[in-house]
Amino acid sequence: MDFSYTETQDMIRETLSRFLADTYDFDSRSKMIASGTGRDPAIWKALAQDLGMLGASFSEEHGGLGGGYLENALIMEELGKVIAIEPYLQTVVLGGGALKAVGGAVADAVIPEIINGNVIIAFAYAEPQGRYNLANIRTTAKKDGAGYVLNGHKGVVYAAPWATHLLVTARTGGATTDVNGVSLFLIDANARGIVRRDYPTVDGFQASEIYFENVAIPADALLGDEGAGLPLIERIVDEATVAVCAESCGVTAKLHQGTLEYARQRNQFGQPISRFQVLQHRMVDMFMEVEQSKSMTTMATLKLDLPAAERMAAVSACKAKVSRSAKFVGQSAIQTHGGIGITQELAIGHFFKRATMIENQFGSADHHYERFERLTLAD
């Protein structure tokens, strides 16, 4: 057992932290969101090309730094500390994760382009009827000559308006919730027949409803084996879930820290409100939730390479705990701030919004408790 970071990992954290401190203060973030595309593409380019950050979790053969899950986790945590709206989760963790898993020519072609910032990927998996069941898919990919034809509707696809590629789950066979017959495709985001309805999300991202209307895709868009994509999808979603938990550690640490700072300077009844024992104990409880979220995220990150059942149990344990912590820390931060916490003008409310969205991203606490129980608590 060993819980220490390598020097490279320490360096990645420091470099990124310094860069975000310079570029991602709350006002700058608000301006990016209010801008035409809802983001600042220069940031992404800098992350790729000035900092080499997008390669941290890729192998050296692909031009990366040779890291993996731990690098993704610490980058996501730093991004969480500034509630960054960069598509790292979608592009590197999900897209990159799928490509690393399948390898081959497509990985060799696309991963270097991710690393240098030319490719942005959005993950089109959720459907209106599907909730958090990854196999609940109505979108179809019908064999058509050498390629496929996509039809269907994917909902709430984060980062889709910015994407060069879409990572799409679709049925090549089976009925709506069958385990078999699910396939994963990486396709051109601008292919003919893709209709997007774009909108902002409550946590500052851009997302889309995506309608596939007879979209022709080539044979090599298929990642992995046809009809046997579910285990791969489950794996990358597990990796993404832990990455979101790491992000949540950053978000909640800032919610806690911001609350401490506010409580120290806000006076009521003749003293800083940080002197009131009830608020002190609440801030202690927030601290404990943040620390436990970090512990669970470390645990799950270190278990991502275990066999599927163990990996899933660990990830679900992590997300169940982190979801509840995100809710508790977010609500407590707002309550301690009082009215000012629910205005648009302070950063704290926006951290709260992101924490709230994290609660249910890739499954609510209940969803993950149930999966954990299915895997570990047989009758």
Partner: protein
């Protein structure tokens, strides 16, 4: 003791139910169903119908325009309003300043202000909170300096709900700068159209414009617009806070909220079953429903106490605490229920924007409403303050 309504009460229930069904404005209903923000005119349309019927102020004494309904009849009335999803009447005139004026005001003040409150001709707002004084209301710094038969008022108020529409506001101001905390405060009625009054919007997390900052710069207020004695405004403020807390339990409205959650949970799918069949989601609903029953019967016991001559006391803080927590839990469940479709941010329906929101109709307001409802444990004296009040005034510690 008995729970059943008497035959007279059942007849009354039927009467009000019919009245609502026949008189509630149809266009207001569609504005609500589609999740639009309500305009001033939306609120007033229903207010005026009730005013015309004479049912606008059930809690007021008959001599000032009340109806003389019993506690049970008032209970039935609020149940029926909520069950029919009627918009609420604005509380600032009817539930807040109105009772202060008929309790502490001069005959001239009653004659001048009560009719406008009842008719809806005057829209009121509340000037209590200040940027430096949240729950610590008594630390307010807005000053009123006597100048002949006027006060000259300077200061800043915040969290002033619906001030953008207001004709009048009731304000707590400091008239004796040397007095301590709760002393030296007076209760002024200020015409919001007066020179020197500026209203600036505060946009809250859901994107709503509900609350405002109000700046007062050399605003001249006639002395006759001061309610009760100079420097004794805290008496009015305390009286009003107790009144505000009872209404805040919002039992009838929360019951309706629980029904809406059930409807969503019957529609949303969770695997092979509707979400309501998920035992854990179902449990959250049943806990909510049972806690709401506990709140309802606590309010009924408290009303029975009031009817027996015990005025709304500090235990009304209990109603505020539990009522606000329940309102928040309802919004939490709604957001949880809508799943992925809690994320799209939709503030359409503006001028020229007729696009349909993303996801199911009940989804697009879930997150904004959740964010917005965090306010219920903060305003009207935060829940921490309410617990302090119970500790001090009920438990004596």
């Amino acid at each position: 003791m008995q729970l059943e309504f008497s035959p007279a009460e059942i007849a009354f229930q039927k009467e009000v139910r019919t009245f609502i069904a026949e008189n509630y404005p149809q266009n207001l209903r569609s504005v609500q169903d589609e999740g639009h923000d309500l305009s001033k005119e939306d609120f007033l349309s229903w207010h005026r119908i009730l005013a015309k019927k004479g049912w606008i102020a059930p809690a007021w004494p008959v001599e000032y325009g009340g109806i003389g309904w019993t506690a049970t009849e008032r209970f039935i009335w609020s149940e029926e309003l909520a069950a029919a999803d009627c918009v609420g009447t604005m509380p600032f005139g009817l539930s807040m300043v109105g009772p202060v004026i008929y309790t502490f005001g001069t005959p001239e003040q009653k004659a001048k202000f009560l009719p406008g409150i009842l008719s809806g001709d005057d829209w009121w707002c509340q000037g209590y909170s200040e940027p430096g004084a949240g729950s610590d209301l008594a630390s307010l710094r807005t000053k009123a300096v006597r100048d002949g038969d006027h006060y000259v008022v300077n200061g800043q108020k915040t969290w002033t709900t619906m001030a953008q529409h207001a004709d009048w506001g009731f304000f707590l101001v400091r008239t004796d700068p040397d007095a301590k905390a709760q002393e030296g405060i007076s209760f002024l009625l200020i015409n919001m159209k007066s020179p020197g009054v500026t209203v600036r919007p505060i946009i809250t997390l859901g994107g709503e414009h509900e609350v405002n900052e109000v700046w007062l710069e050399d605003v001249r207020v006639p002395v006759e617009n001061r309610v009760y004695e100079e420097n004794k405004g805290w008496t009015c403020a305390k009286f009003l806070l107790a009144h505000e807390r009872t209404g805040i339990a919002a039992v009838a409205r929360s019951k309706r909220g629980v029904e809406k959650i059930k409807a969503i949970a019957r529609t949303e799918q969770d695997g092979d079953r509707p979400l309501i069949a998920n035992p854990f989601f179902k449990r959250k609903i049943s806990e909510l429903e049972i806690d709401l029953t506990a709140l309802e019967f606590t309010e009924l016991r408290s009303l029975a106490g009031e009817a027996a001559g015990k005025g709304p006391g500090p235990e009304s803080s209990l109603l505020k605490i539990k009522g606000s927590e329940i309102q928040q839990r309802i919004t939490e469940l709604a957001l949880e229920a809508v799943g992925h479709y809690g994320a799209p941010y939709f503030r359409g329906f503006g001028e020229g924007d007729n696009e349909h929101p993303i996801g199911p109709d009940y989804a697009h307001r879930a997150a904004p409403t959740y964010f917005n409802t965090r306010k219920t444990t903060i305003y009207g004296g935060s829940n921490e303050i309410q617990r302090n009040i119970i500790a001090k005034l009920v438990l004596g510690i």
